[in-house]
């Protein structure tokens, strides 16, 4: 028997005063009011039969006192929390992980509506099998984990939590769920170190981790489950077929903006060749259709050409059924058969150029292409001191401000570009070096796309020391000479060399960049990406559930968002014109508008091949789970051979063994079932599933882990105290009635 006192010392002292008080009050109460009567003769005879014996009488007299003291004693004992170390209190600790990702919508299960319903049924059955002493926790996961019910032995609460689980359209990330489960099941330390008040450190306890999933996630091998014993309980079939749109986008032709190119990729994740039509709708009007013929496990492109200058909504639909409703192709998941894209009208960005005069730059900003993108205003550096500038800068009225050989006192609320000067804070540069020899260009950055700069001549430049988190775009022998750095949602591009330099002879070229072809391209890149013009020319697509950030005119306080179901919500615009949209679970088109005036559009599409690949993997590796299977990789020598021959050559087993495995259907090629007569290609993975795997899962489900638990008495003690209190009340009222 051990105790876990629940009160501090002074609280115990306070509690100790209570019984003393009761005794004192009792003696005070004992001083009965004297009352003179003619004779106690009759009274004595009345209470005579109550005096059966003096001990009982004395007890009876102080019964109330006794009861009160007992109540206090029980309460004190309950607060001491007496308990004992019991071994059989909790047989099992279960962590039930329920996959709610998009692939669980697949309908390849026989009895149930979907894999999700089938998984729910399995979880429900597991909950029903729980003992009274078992505890379980329920976590639903897709690309994030949600604890629906923390550890409880109450099966009804678990069932209610299970009913709360909702199918989502999100992709799968089992790692998040595993971390949540491991964190809850392996509490290394729940108390604060050095906190004298906090003395309850939960012990890490072994638990069963049951993953009810279709396995639509990569193997998780670098995750330490510690004392979680994980079991993957597969849902769905191993040969589910699916056709999925894995990419769909529409972009205006940069040459002819009224021309729009839409391009989709359709994947066939099944094991059979499929033939079907894909139909393109614009604003719900039929526009075009294309016939697709996709071999098993491969993808096909679906290009569309259309002309439209205005905004339009595009929808691509795979025609799984014909006009009579007969299926023309096998498809178990409907979610990825529709994809959305949007084309928006071009938006002009507002650019403020602060310069003493930079003809090459102004020229580059005035090309026909650039004119379509931007509205340019040129001012002299003296303008930086004016109130008008202050208003523009703090209000963020410009999308991009270019400071040519000058710098503001304070950074504006917009993207900036500095040429031959530094932002007022965070940036440093070294001594000028001459000449500047370029040694590296970051071509992957959107600002540097299509640029060929190695022939660039720069007379003088200063190596930059940008703040942390920035990207070096152009590196010379002396260091970075061009870098872009993020700043609270904005970007600052700093060019460490002048284009035009002020000398005693007047303006001279510091570089030959303006006469190179890459110069206007670079300026256009700056306008597109730093000015934000690219955002408006095509609509981005996000996976379901992702938080989308859009930029709108920062003078707006609120904007309206229309989601795919037509529901309208009003969103707050943050300072700087950003809008964060979180509720993006539903695939489709989301439109931002203000007073019916469209401001921006984005789409939510699954576009996740992993999610669309429906074949339930035979085995998923999660830490130590299911490592029973033997795997072989087909080499060059066995290329094209029949599976049995290849396995024999790989020394997987004897011929009868291999034949038995093939007959039993435990051989998988690339995690998919294989026909015994099929051939293998070089690089194929051949897996022989350990038959014991299924048994292992079963054993894991039936087995019971014995966990040391603490048997507690305080509930009973409190119950007794309440009972005593009731008895006291009854006695008291009986005495007075």
């Amino acid at each position: 028997m051990s105790y876990l006192p629940a009160l501090a010392a002074w609280q115990w002292a306070l509690l100790a005063v209570v019984p003393i008080g009761i005794v004192l009050l009792y003696f005070l109460k004992l001083r009965r009011q004297p009352m003179v009567v003619p004779s106690t003769f009759l009274w004595s005879r009345t209470i005579e039969d109550l005096h059966v014996n003096s001990l009982l009488q004395r007890l009876r007299r102080s019964l109330l006192l006794l009861l009160q003291l007992l109540v206090i004693a029980m309460a004190a004992l309950a607060l001491l929390r007496p308990g004992w170390q019991s071994s059989n209190q909790q047989n099992e600790r279960l962590v039930l992980l329920l996959d709610t990702s998009a692939s669980m919508r697949a309908t390849d299960v026989d009895e149930e509506e979907s894999r999700f319903e089938a998984a729910k049924k399995k979880v429900r059955e597991r909950i029903d099998r729980m003992d009274d002493t078992d505890v379980a926790m329920l976590i639903a996961f897709n690309d994030r984990a949600e604890v629906l019910q923390s550890f409880t032995s109450d099966r009804n609460r678990l069932r209610e939590a299970l009913e709360r689980a909702r199918q989502s359209d999100r992709p799968t990330d089992v790692l998040d769920a595993l971390k949540a489960a491991a964190g809850l099941a392996n509490p290394n330390r729940t108390s604060e170190a050095g906190d004298a008040q906090d003395y309850q450190v939960a012990d890490a306890q072994p638990a069963q981790l049951l993953i009810y999933s279709d396995g639509g996630f990569p193997n998780v091998t670098d995750f330490d489950l510690e004392n979680l014993q994980a079991t993957y309980i597969p849902v769905g079939t191993e040969d589910a077929a699916n056709l999925a749109i894995v990419a769909f986008s529409a972009q205006r032709n940069p040459e002819t903006p009224e021309q729009v190119e839409a391009f989709a990729r359709v994947a066939n994740t099944g094991t059979e060749r499929q033939r079907l039509d894909a139909t393109l709708f614009m604003d719900d009007q039929f526009l075009d259709a294309i016939e697709l013929d996709i071999p098993a496990g491969e993808e096909a492109g679906a290009p569309f050409q259309l002309s439209n200058a205005a905004a339009a909504e595009l929808k691509l639909v795979l025609n799984i059924v014909d006009d009579n409703g007969r299926p023309v192709a096998r498809d178990e998941l409907a979610l990825d058969n529709t994809a959305y894209a949007a084309i928006a009208p071009m938006r002009t960005v507002s650019v403020l150029l602060v310069s003493e005069g930079n003809h090459p730059l102004e020229l580059a900003l005035q090309t026909p292409e650039a004119r379509r993108l931007c509205l340019l205003e040129t001012v002299s550096p003296a303008y930086l001191q004016s109130d008008a500038y202050q208003e523009r800068a703090t209000g963020g009225l410009d999308d991009l401000i270019i400071y040519d050989r000058c710098a503001p006192q304070q950074m504006p609320v917009s993207n900036t570009m500095f040429i031959g000067s530094l932002p007022p804070a965070g940036w440093q540069w070294g001594e000028p070096t001459s000449p500047v020899l370029l040694i590296d260009i970051d071509r992957t950055h959107p600002l540097m796309r299509f640029l060929e700069l190695y022939s660039l001549q720069i007379v003088e430049g200063r190596p930059l020391t940008p703040p942390q988190g920035s990207v070096d775009l152009l590196t010379a022998d002396s260091g970075a000479v061009m870098a872009v750095s993020p700043r609270e949602g904005y970007q600052d591009l700093v060019v460490g060399f002048d284009i035009l330099s002020d000398t005693e002879e007047g303006m001279v070229f510091n570089s030959d960049w303006p006469v190179q072809r890459s110069w206007p391209v670079f300026v256009l890149n700056v306008l597109r990406h730093l000015g934000g013009a690219i955002d408006s020319s095509s609509s981005p697509s996000y996976p379901p559930g992702e938080t989308v950030t859009m930029r709108v005119d920062n003078r707006l306080k609120t904007v309206d968002l229309t989601d795919p179901s037509g529901r309208k919500r009003t969103l707050q615009v943050a300072a700087g014109g950003t809008v964060s949209i979180t509720d993006t679970d539903q695939p489709g088109l989301y439109l931002l508008s203000k007073q019916e005036l469209p401001l921006g559009v984005f789409t939510v599409n699954l576009f996740d091949l992993q999610e669309s690949r429906l074949q339930r993997p035979a085995v998923r590796l999660i830490g130590p789970v299911a490592q029973f299977d033997t795997e072989y990789v087909v080499g060059e020598a066995e290329d094209g051979a029949r599976i049995a021959e290849a396995m024999l050559a790989l020394e997987a087993g004897t011929e009868p063994q291999i034949q038995a495995w093939l007959d039993d259907g435990v051989v998988r090629r690339n995690d998919a079932p294989i026909d015994p007569d099929a051939t293998v290609r070089s690089g194929d993975r051949i897996t022989i599933i350990d038959l014991d795997r299924e048994n292992a899962i079963l054993r894991a489900e039936e087995g019971a882990a014995t966990v040391a638990a603490r048997g507690e008495l305080w509930r009973w003690l409190l119950l007794i105290a309440v009972g005593l209190l009731t008895a006291e009340w009854v006695l008291y009222t009986r005495r007075l009635m």
Partner: protein, 295 residues
Amino acid sequence: MPAAATELLPADLIARLERLELVSRRVFRGRMKGERRSRRKGQSVEFADFRNYVAGDDLRQIDWNLYARLDQLFLKLFLEEEDLHFYALIDSSESMNFGDPTKLHVAKQLAACLGYVGLCRADRVKLAALGPQGDRAPVLRGKSNLWRMLEYLDGIRPGDNGSLYEDVKRFSHRNTGTGIVVLITDLLDKQGYEQALRMLLGRRMDVYVVHLLAPEELEPPLQGDLRLVDSEDGDQAEVTVNRILLERYQRTVNAFIDTARTFCSRRSITYLLARTDMPVDQLVTRYLRERGVVR
């Protein structure tokens, strides 16, 4: 008329009492000639019997006419008329000092009424408190002694907390004559009242017991946790008075009264239960009359 006397015996009651007389179920020998017919033959105008003369008889009672006719001496016997000894014993213990009016006061009133009836009928009346105060009780005869009687009654103070038996014994030793005894008491004696009553019976008394109880004793107005203190011996009883206890007390009181009544009726003692909240004139002129104490 002194105030105390008026209180004990109001004038209008006196007028009604004069028409009453005390009833005795037995015929007692009186000491003086009175208004009652006696079993004794004696001197009166009412003829009773003849008997032979024996030597020593009063010659004045010989019927000389018979002697003349029969030449034998016969004595002519007449019915004797005698007086009645009437005693009223008042329990003056401290327990009688309860109630409103007090039991003692009602006892005095009752005694005064009965005594006055006796005085009117020329009975020998002695009203006495039990205990030492009874020693100086006067023996009274004739209406003229009413004031003495009231004076004595008025002088009785509560506080003689002797046992009933001892007090009755003391009375019996001092008063040897037989007659009517009306014992006015609350019978609340821890040693019991039985012996006292037996003692009176043994003295060949015609015993009446007027059991006086105050309403406060029959239905005590008590509630809660109390320490009851006996007014006589200071004995204490701690009780928590609740409905159940009150019911139990009621049963005890009823049983006490029943026991007393049964005890008395078995021994030809007239038992009368009187409540102090009953007006005295009604008590005497109606209640006692109905029960045959007076007529």
